[in-house]
Each structure stands twice: as structure tokens, then as C-alpha cells.
Symmetry: C2
Subunit: 389 residues, 2 copies
């Protein structure tokens, strides 16, 4: 087990009507005039935004609005939010939505208090020392941004750039009402489930040994997600199942499963290059393809942990590690397919001729050698993309 320093200071308000607590939580966290960040469409149409505004008004908290955040959020909305927030002297940022709204809110919360360009944080040129307090009303369990200190923003030239902070960009509070997820379309629900599972994988498939406790917690979370996922797919208004998925999505990415070990985000990074080039590809859908492809490739060199996963989580009984690993990967593929997720890049519209571009960008962004569970060079990542076609 590696040494670590870990803090997760977000207050989770979980359950029925959680969004109605947003006003009180804003006040408790020192907010009196907030920037409300949201996407477009559903949060407005559903009446959620109006309920959030009413809760803020009831608590005496004023607000200005930044709507229209897009999936794979871009820097233009961040700049717009920083300018608006400064002009209106906001003292807090509240996101209403999923990962895109939350990640944008985080970039704004850090950027408003920073003299330079907010991209400095994402480029590793500056550390987010302070940020306005951030609140969340979550509508999509997937990205886990409601409990993390992370944010992913896409630049003008199509690069998805991740920022990870220790504490400064962790929300002060997150309101999680499973009922708000009843109306999520099935494909989006499935993509979210895949995304949260892979947030756990990226920590679980680690070269660090002696981490039985976080292994078992990670395996437990995956098992819970795999038990509850078919329920939400077949019965979208099953409160308990939605609640289990929602809370799993937060625990998947608040850092708990990563304590004490090296992580390996290779398949996430490989997917980022797919959806950067093909913006219509949902992150979770791209992951459903890339992760089994990555697992198959790395299992050949280092099957042990994949075999452990196959045995403990998927009930594989095969004694040989590589065979157990491959059986498990097959079951995982079947699970993703059963949720309606794609099994190949081709089915997502990705062309073989674009693989060299994705490989080039991947290694430009992340270095010549990427990965910890199995370090990979361009030859390897090319083979993985090709196997995923």
C-alpha cells in the first residue's frame, strides 16, 4: 500500500427532495449571491431549475444564470462564466445537471479568484489554491464530479484536458435525489453506469499490491452496480435501484477506491481521444468499447488482477489466470451489451483510418509511455484501438 493523503469534505444530501435543501446549504457554506450553471433543455423543462431557484430565493440567496453548457463542455462557457461571475460579484457557484455542468462550474469557481488564464490550472502551470465554494444538484449519475476534486474541459482545438485537485475544487455540498434520474433516457443511463464502473476499474487495475481493503471495496461497488443496473434499465422509476446507482456513482469517483495505490487511467485517456475526434460519441459508450479492449490486451502481459476481478466479481471459476481473465472480460462485454451499449468502435462510426490520429494525440497529450498496470507505447495503443474496431 502506498502512502497517501486523502480528504473528501463534500456534504452529501441524499434522497427525496434533496434539491430543496440547496438554499440552506448555500447559506451554510457562505453563499449569498451565486452563479447557477446548467445545460439546456431537461433541467428547465422538468421544472427542476425553477425549484432550485425557489429554494435559493427562500433562503435569501440571489443568483445569476449561466445556461447552455454542452456535453463535453468547452472553455468558452468557462470564460463566459468567469466574466459574468466577476461582474455580478458572485460568492459561490452552483451546478444543476451532470458532469458537464459541474466541471464547468468548477473551472469557473477556480478561475474567478485567479488572476491568470484558468487554463493554467489544466495545463499544470498553476495550482488551484482557492476557489469559490461549489454546490451541486445532480441529475445524471455518471461522471462522479459531484464528489470529486476533478474537472475535464475541452479546449477550442478539441483537446479534453483533466484537472485533478486535492480539495480546492471538491463541492462543499451535493444534493442527490434519485427521483431526478427517473426520466433519464435508457442510453444515457447505461452510459452513466459504464462510466462509474470504469472510474472504479481505473483505480482497481493497479500495479500496487497489499491493498486488499480498497480492492474489496472496489469489488463490492462493482457488484452492487452490476446488480442494480438491470433493474434501472427495466424499471426506470425503481427508486431503490436508482438510489443505489446514484450513490455508487459518487463513491466510484470520490477517491476512496484509489487510496493507497497507483491508478491507471489509460482506457479513459484512450476514450477521450475517441470522443474528442467524434464528439457525438458519449463518453460512457466509448468506454464500453475501449475498456474490454484494453483489458484483453493488458491481461496477456499481466493477467493476475484481471483474473481476480473475474473470479471475485463475475464468479469465474477457471484456475488459469489468463483464461479466467479472458472469461471475465467476455462476461463484462456481455454485461455492457445487455445494457444496450456498443461493442465496437465501428458501431460508433469510428474509422480505422483515424486510429493513427488518435494514437498520435494520445501520446502527445499523455507521453510516450502511458499506464501503470501495464505501461504502453504507441505500438500497444494502436493494437488496442485496432482490436476495438
Amino acid at each position: 500500500m502506498n502512502d497517501f493523503s486523502y480528504i473528501t469534505p463534500t456534504r452529501y444530501i441524499f434522497g427525496h427532495g434533496a434539491e430543496e435543501k440547496v438554499g440552506k446549504q448555500a447559506v451554510v457554506n457562505g453563499m449569498s449571491n451565486v452563479l447557477l450553471v446548467y445545460g439546456k433543455g431537461s433541467v428547465v423543462r422538468s421544472g427542476l431549475l425553477d425549484r432550485v431557484k425557489a429554494a435559493l430565493a427562500d433562503a435569501g440567496v440571489s443568483y445569476v444564470e449561466l445556461g447552455g453548457v454542452q456535453p463535453n463542455p468547452t472553455d468558452d462557457k468557462v470564460y463566459e462564466g468567469i466574466n459574468l461571475g466577476r461582474k455580478e460579484h458572485v460568492d459561490g457557484v452552483i451546478a444543476v445537471g451532470g458532469g458537464s455542468a459541474i466541471d464547468t462550474a468548477k473551472a469557473i469557481a477556480g478561475g474567478i479568484l485567479y488572476d491568470g488564464d484558468f487554463w493554467d490550472f489544466y495545463a499544470g502551470k498553476a495550482i488551484v489554491e482557492e476557489a469559490l465554494p461549489i454546490g451541486v444538484v445532480l441529475t445524471i449519475p455518471a461522471a462522479g464530479s459531484e464528489g470529486s476534486g476533478n474537472s475535464v474541459i475541452t479546449s477550442h482545438d478539441g483537446k479534453k484536458i483533466s484537472l485533478r485537485t486535492d480539495m480546492s475544487l471538491r463541492p462543499k455540498f451535493s444534493c442527490l435525489n434519485p427521483e431526478l434520474t427517473f426520466t433519464l433516457p435508457p442510453y444515457q443511463t447505461a452510459c452513466g453506469i459504464c462510466d462509474m464502473m470504469i472510474h472504479i476499474f481505473e483505480r482497481y487495475f493497479s500495479p500496487t499490491s497489499g491493498v486488499e481493503v480498497t480492492d474489496r471495496v472496489a469489488e463490492g461497488l462493482i457488484m452492487a452496480i452490476m446488480t442494480e443496473a438491470p433493474k434501472v434499465m427495466s424499471s426506470p422509476v425503481d427508486y431503490e435501484a436508482r438510489a443505489n446507482i446514484m450513490w455508487s456513482g459518487t463513491l466510484a469517483h470520490n477517491g476512496l477506491c484509489g487510496t493507497g495505490r497507483a491508478e491507471d487511467w489509460t482506457s479513459h485517456f484512450m476514450e477521450h481521444e475517441v470522443s474528442a475526434l467524434y464528439p457525438e460519441v458519449a463518453h460512457g459508450a466509448g468506454l464500453a468499447v475501449m475498456v474490454p479492449a484494453w483489458m484483453s490486451y493488458v491481461a496477456k502481459r499481466n493477467p493476475a488482477k484481471v483474473a481476480q476481478f473475474a473470479r471475485r466479481v463475475l464468479g469465474v471459476t477457471e484456475a488459469d489466470d489468463l483464461r479466467a481473465a479472458n472469461n471475465g472480460i467476455e462476461r463484462l462485454r456481455e454485461f455492457f451489451t445487455s445494457l444496450g451499449l456498443p461493442a465496437s468502435l465501428t458501431s460508433l462510426g469510428v474509422k480505422a483510418s483515424d486510429i493513427p490520429v488518435m494514437v498520435r494525440r494520445l501520446h502527445e497529450n499523455k507521453g510516450a509511455v502511458i499506464g501503470a498496470y501495464v505501461p504502453l507505447v504507441a505500438q500497444d495503443t494502436t493494437a488496442i484501438y485496432e482490436s476495438a474496431l
Copy 2:
């Protein structure tokens, strides 16, 4: 799943030399002159206290000392600490030790800022609105107080009274160095392992349904503890095993496993009456006896969750719930015995003639009906104590 509000804002500094960070963490958390709370003997003899003092001095933090905290800590040390802390104008309290030192530090940190008697908090007459910041250097993985908002203090007339706060008494930081636990005597190690397992049980054996995610996390933690426990017993300086046990002890009691469900602390309360009457009985040893006795009794009325535990955690394959439950309880007893823990109250020196006293006190303290998984009256708790003899 029940609605919940949950926050765990403690920074965990985990690993080699974690105690050396105590000075920096004190400063980060606004401390400049702290009350150092510790027991007697081992933290002094081992040189740990000197290292902590040096780390504080290096960071420019001054300190006054309150040593001599006893196991099952009593209110006299709390009053002494409150008086000393006020006189010396301390702005933080740092515990060096296990649950007794930490629980005492918490009572002091809340009491110093409170005009009335600190017992008001424990008697439910007042809520801890504010407290001095609390820091921890942990030496005994067991009580989980390093990550909880809870504190247990024993009154002059021998009552162990628990206080649970939402956030105000949660430590700001806890330094967890597994090496500090290498020298724990085997019996104390075993008692700690039992204590942390039962912190999970008290949340797991709940009447609340629809909590697959926290069930799986709880089961994972128990499995990890049961895997690592024999290693630390046979090889006390096994760093990885000690690290897994230490981190498990924190996660067992920081509230994670209780999110979204009713808890049932009956067996803890029943043990408290044992060790209140027989102060020489270690809490974990008393639990090793009381918990299987409690489980056997409640399984007759409600076997389902005990059977789930037996099957998922202990590998029991029996189809009938009650039989599965009983098989599991038998395996659990064997596990505790294998650690050198007692299997009966008699072996702890408890007399049958004291059962009526313990039952009377139990229900005086906790009400005529106690428990959530299976509600119990005096007739039931009498039968459980008798079965544990």
C-alpha cells in the same frame, strides 16, 4: 434506502512517518497552541510523543500536555483538560493514542467552547455547535474515532455514554502510520480487529432494504479484515497487513457503511454494560462474546440478513436461511477464537448473578425496547446474556 446527510471532512495522512506531518497539519488547521492528550506508558516509552512534540515545535506550534488518559476514559480527565485548555488558551486539541485519548480530546474540544457542563452534550441536553479543531496521531486501530464524530465517555457512576455528532467533533486531520501498530500486544490487536468488524456489523444488520451498495461495501470491508487479521496476528510487523487493518478500522466507523439505513447498536450497548461492570474486560473482547450471542438470538426471528452475511462473506452455501445464518455465526465464533478472543462471558469472569444488573442498566440507559434489526425487550436481552455465559 433511507434519505441521509453525510459528511466526513477529516484529512487522512496515511503511511510511513505520518506522525511527522502533525505540525504542518496543525498549522493548516489554524492551531498555534495545542493541548496534547495521551494515555500513559507506550506513547511515551516508544518515543512517539517526543517525535510529535518535535514536529509541532518545528512547525512553530506550542503545546501543553494532558497525559494519563485511561482505557474507558472518564469525565475527570475531560474536566482537567477543559480547565487546562482554557487556562492556557489553547486553540486546538491533538490526541496521540487510541480511542480513549481521541474520545477524551473530543469531549475537551467541545467542552472548552461551551459555557455549560460538557455532559450536556452526552446527555442530549445540548448540541455541539462548535469545537476547537481536533487532530489525531493514531496508535491503535480499533475504535475508529480518528474518522468519526463520535465519543464515548464513562461517568463517575460507571455509565458509558456515547455522543454522536454530525461534523463538529470529527477530527480535522488524522495521521495514520501502520508502523506505530507493530508493537501492539496480540490481544489488543485482536480486540481492535473485533471492534472494527462490529462497527460494520452494527450498520450492516439493519432492517432497511434497498441498500445493496452499502451492503457490498460493508461485506468487502469485513472480508478484507478477515483476510488480513491472521497475517497481523502471525506477523506483527507485516506492514501491508497492518496498513489494511488500520485503514479498514477507519472506514468501518466513519459513517460510510451506515449511509442510507437504520443502524442497530444493540450488541455494542450490551457489551458496554459488561465492561461498565467489569472494567478489566476489553471492549473488543466483550464484543467477541456478545455479538455472536446477539446474532444467534435475532437470526431466529429474522435470519435473512445474517444468512446473506454468511453466504457472501463466509462462503456458506446452505440454502435455508436460518441454517445458513447459524453456520455463519459458528464460523464467525471460530474466527474470533482463532485470534485468541474469548467465546464466553464466564471466561471473562462475568457472573450469571450480574445479568439482571446489566439488563436493568441496559434498558434504563437505552429504553424498554432496543434495536432495529430485531427490537428487543428485557426478556430478550436477558436470554442473550444467558446464552453468552
